[in-house]
């Protein structure tokens, strides 16, 4: 029976499949080039010995990001969205049949875009936004929906703070203004700064989930 299912209903179906695996699923969203893949690389390096991790890669075309991650020995599934500027629940569902084992952690890298990916549930536990310092500290004001919905906001490329106009405290205040409960981490995916603190937080979440 060809029933037209809404994105929300499809996301609930995805959620049920992830719940059977008892996985923590995080939807990672940022502008193009803010450092989603670099951040995931660092998190995987920290946690792959202790946890079973799957990365689902959403990109317009190609396998550039998934081949970077495969080099780390982590399981990766690539989804090409072709024309869509975001992953939705139906596209994400395409990855599910190829999941052959139970994962503790599923990291979903969305298409680089600060607008539309925030509007589509895909079955995640929560959204993690990445804001990079070169973009400017006004992004929470100019692209509000993502910062309003994200449970976690990672401020990346903090190694570039001496060279850019980004005011860290101002950015944090603006994020908190949009979303008082947001948990904010400042990191550098290049130098590794801040990754231990983030991974400690993530481990606690993984253990709570069990």
């Amino acid at each position: 029976k060809p029933v037209l299912v809404s994105n929300k209903e499809r996301a609930r179906e995805n959620r049920k499949i992830f719940d059977k695996m008892n996985s923590l699923v995080i939807n990672i969203i940022s502008s193009p080039g803010a450092g989603k893949t670099s951040f995931i690389q660092k998190v995987v390096e920290h946690l792959k010995e202790k946890y079973r991790i799957l990365v689902i890669e959403g990109d317009i075309q190609g396998q550039i990001d998934s081949s970077r991650l495969m080099k780390l020995g982590v399981d990766v599934i690539q989804i090409n969205t072709v024309t869509e500027c975001h992953l939705d629940a139906f596209m994400t569902a395409q990855a599910l049949p190829s999941i052959k084992k139970n994962y503790d952690l599923v990291l979903i890298e969305n298409v680089g875009n600060l607008v539309c990916p925030a509007e589509f549930e895909i079955g995640e536990d929560y959204k993690l936004a990445i804001l990079s310092t070169p973009e400017g500290d006004d992004k929470p004001l100019k692209y509000p929906l993502l910062f309003h919905l994200a449970k976690v906001v990672v401020i990346n490329k903090c190694d570039l703070l001496p060279y850019v106009d980004f005011k860290l405290q101002k950015a944090k205040d603006r994020i908190k203004n949009k979303n008082p409960r947001a948990i904010i981490f400042d990191v550098s995916a290049k130098t590794g700064k801040g990754l231990v603190r983030f991974c400690t937080f993530l481990e606690k979440e993984l253990n709570d989930k069990k």
Copy 2:
């Protein structure tokens, strides 16, 4: 008679209005924070004495960018897209009734997004893409449509090259591979480097248009 007009048809209507003014109209597209407003500020500073310039600002909400530009004394019209991640021809048409004089140059700053804005004609002469060095030199491969369609590609934030992984020649080769006729400028909207060369190119275009 409420005729359903396609975006292309609406863009053609916009084009006719701009042609009556004999204006050069440029649609400026980039990721969030790549430097569209900063670049426009620099171009306006260079050319506002000699040419009549209008800036049309497309943003999800607010007037942050238009108030930066109004400080330069240039005419600005703000369009808020609310939920849309791009300007289309209908939204752009909303700005037209408030155009009270003939402009030589109309700069349209689109919503920060490397995907959807490239798909919508809005009545422009051409698209100008801005790629900033912190985003990485792989963007022409990962977000190909814009680089394929843009007549001009500006590589911005070249002052940050010593601190980021961006390979300038590699990026240029990738852009040329997607679009052999693309005209590429490397600039820094912060230091002003490369702006004289770009403005000389733009003046020639303005004079050819006359």
